[in-house]
Amino acid sequence: MKKIEAIVKPFKLDDIKEALNEIGIQGMTISEVKGYGRQKGHKEIYRGAEYVVDFIPKIKIELVVDTAIADQVVEKIRDAANTGKIGDGKIFIFSVEEAIRVRTGEKGIDAI
């Protein structure tokens, strides 16, 4: 099993969900996250007052899938998230040792 974590631009969420639905993936965890880093925040001026946006709003998508389809999932996310511009985001892939469904105690692929 692989855990796939993607940090992407907020407006790409629907496209990514749709792309994943196409290959039969519906379950995922989505969080609104704040990005601080290379793509620094910036200032806006309104009537002489400065408003600093010190973080960049991003969406984090997490899902655990069978290793066999991990590459396909990553590719789908990449295709959907790609605008060809800076700040399109990143995808991380982790190996998952075990998954357990709390209610039934099922393990492995059955639990995801």
Partner: protein, 871 residues
Amino acid sequence: MDHPFNHISDTLKQRREQLISALSEMQPIDFMHRHAGILDDYFRESFEHSLVGPKLALYKNPYAMIALGGYGREEQCVHSDVDILFLFQNEVPKAAEALIQEIIYPLWDLGLEVGYATRTLKECIRLARKNPIVLTPILDARFICGMSILFSNLLDTLRQKVLKKQSRKIITWLVDQSRERHLRFGDSTYLLEPNLKEGQGGLRDYHTMLWIGRIKLNIRHPRDLEYFGYMSHEEYQSIRKGLSFIWNVRNRLHLTSKRKSDQLYFENQIQLAKSMHFKKRSGQQAVETFLGKLHANMDFMKQQFLMFLSEHGYVKTYSKKNRYRLSVHVEGLTVNRDMLDFVSSEYVLNSPALLVRVFEESTRLKIPLSMEAKRIVSEFRHLIDNEVRTDKQVLKGLETILKEPVFTIDVLGEMLDSGCLVSLIPEMKGIVNRIQYDEYHVYPVDKHSLRTVQTVRAFGTDQDNSGCPICGNVWKELKNRKCLLWAALLHDIGKGAPEKNHAKTGAKITRKIMAGFGYSEYDIEMASFLVEQHLLLMKTATRRDIHDEETAIMCARIIKKVSRLQMLFLLTVADAVSTGQNAWSEWTMALLRDLFLKVMNILKKGELASRHAVQTIEKKQDTILASAATPDERSRLAATFNIMSPRYVLTMPVINILEDIALYQNMNDREFVWHISKNEAANTRIVRICAKDKPGLFSKIAGMLTLNNLDILDAQIFTWRNNIALDIFTLKPPLDKVFENERWTIAERNLTSALSGDLDLASQLEKKMKVASAIKPRASKRPHKVNVDNKSSSFFTIIEIFTYDFPGLLFAITDALYQAGLDIWVAKISTNIDQVVDVFYVRDVDGQKVDAENQVLFIKEVIYQRLPKII
């Protein structure tokens, strides 16, 4: 031998199962009575047949079994607790334990939740005096079996020794408890998943009224509340109806969750709606109708409860220190104990406008209506007719109510609860208690609308809970606030209609309502625009790339005016804040505020979104699309038109746009394509290059041109939204006109290898410049000037360079920008004899403006370095 109790508990089990299986055919109150009755029978039977009982010597130490709490009130739901007290006259005998084993254990075996206590009369009184939690179930005590005199003793002693002496203290405790409970369960989670017992307007509110009645007047039956004048006959009937509904839900909830449970979780809601035969109607799901009805009932109960408390003086009275100021301005109204009253109901009959103006006075004086005044409003609200609606005084009053920031009392809420608001604006009927079934909309639509009004007028005050300080500043600048407040009240009014697009429908209804009140076309247009577009900013901020200039331009074109943007922004924030915690966060705020500021900037500058700009662009689009020979071509043209940058379309004549489209469609996989045209009259060459954009593209083209001795007179570059760059150069023709075509072929080859990295332009140019030694220091009075402007655009840092022309200048500057890590998005280069003005719109490699002070200094520094020294 079978213990007789096996038989008794078997009977109980059977009878309960039978009763529960008939639940859906019975009135909830009958079910609960019969359920309590079955339990009573069990206790009586077991008292009769007890093997322990005879050893307890009833005549020496009398005892009784007494039902407490809900069981005492005979309000026994499917899985309610069974609370029972074994009361002894003198002492609790040792054998009591055996009695419990005999009587209670079988009940536990049946899976009933039984709470029992064995106490003497004395103990009971002592505990009740010490702890109101022990006291309240005893208030509901009901004799089941044993020595009945003991029960009477209990009630009498309780009254003499506890209730009479401490009634004020106990009631205060009850009121405090209720307040705490309302606060805790008023939280949004409980609005989505209501708690039938502890929630606002839940059963506990009814219990508390009953307990207060018992303490003060020793009432036995709930109906006594009406007979003692605690509530009107109609109110009592409505309460019973409401209770019946809540009990019905509770019973079914117990049944489906197979245990005692008071909180109506999401997972139960759909199923319960179905089992209670709610149907889908006029675009509302069954579960939404169900929750709407539950909400209406609980809301009514809450109102009655609060009214009950305040009529008995248990609600904090308002500060009296300003009393001298309280004089009523409207005839027919009066102030009584810091509350507003009608002088008499006759006044209302003669002048129904008072029904609205009483709320205006309430807003002005910041005091609530008395209970009696509320009753009058509610009972006479049918008098509000068209004459009242078109009364200018009424409208003025309504505006005051909308505009005045009063936070101590909820005047609009009172207007809604009394039915006055709906009588005044009948179109609101459709959204009253309308529930939206999701985890997002916490409040019914009517309550949400009122909260939105409240949020708007809180901007910039200490009640502002948007967490967004800019809102207060924007609010202060607004001139026409009433339109925003009307839009806040009506923004979701379309949700009451079956049509899908509630914003659009709402705009139509708003237009009608505003026209009915006699507003000017300007105000009507403003309010209905706000209602129609109230989702625009939020949708755009969360679903579009707000770092794309086109996104802001699109919004600016729809919004058109700064004042409309300001109001739309405030409405959007207020709408989100008033929806629930899932709709508003620092994260959402960052996106929305960013978009607002960017659109504001575009609207203020005007060049890209002015009416003239919009018209120009539309006209060009029409001409271009009209040039298509086939529908296929037309849609290809339309698609290409959509990816062009607005600046490009605005500046470029149609004929050139068509040339560029042709060029673009010929690109295929190539890095770039170009087209060279000769202007013999002006003796210039125009080169149009269409290329895949990449950092340094512009400087490489400029370098290539210099390398080939092609002097740049003028240049414009644009970046389309799909990362295609359009670079247009006006050049002096090559010196050697005979071999001009060969020159172009070499130049094209140079650019190809420069782009692929095979040709190092910088070193080639350096060699060339050494030979020519062209960069000579200049004698001039005016120095070079480099301006870095971060204010004019939200998307780009604009660099302006004023200098003197020399061969290779453009390459030098653009190369410096490239080396400094900047990406050029737009450029305008113009040469006037030897004066040069270059303007570049740049962003850094991360797509951000470069606005840090040290960055700005650095940019200036690297550009100055490449310019010739001034002597």
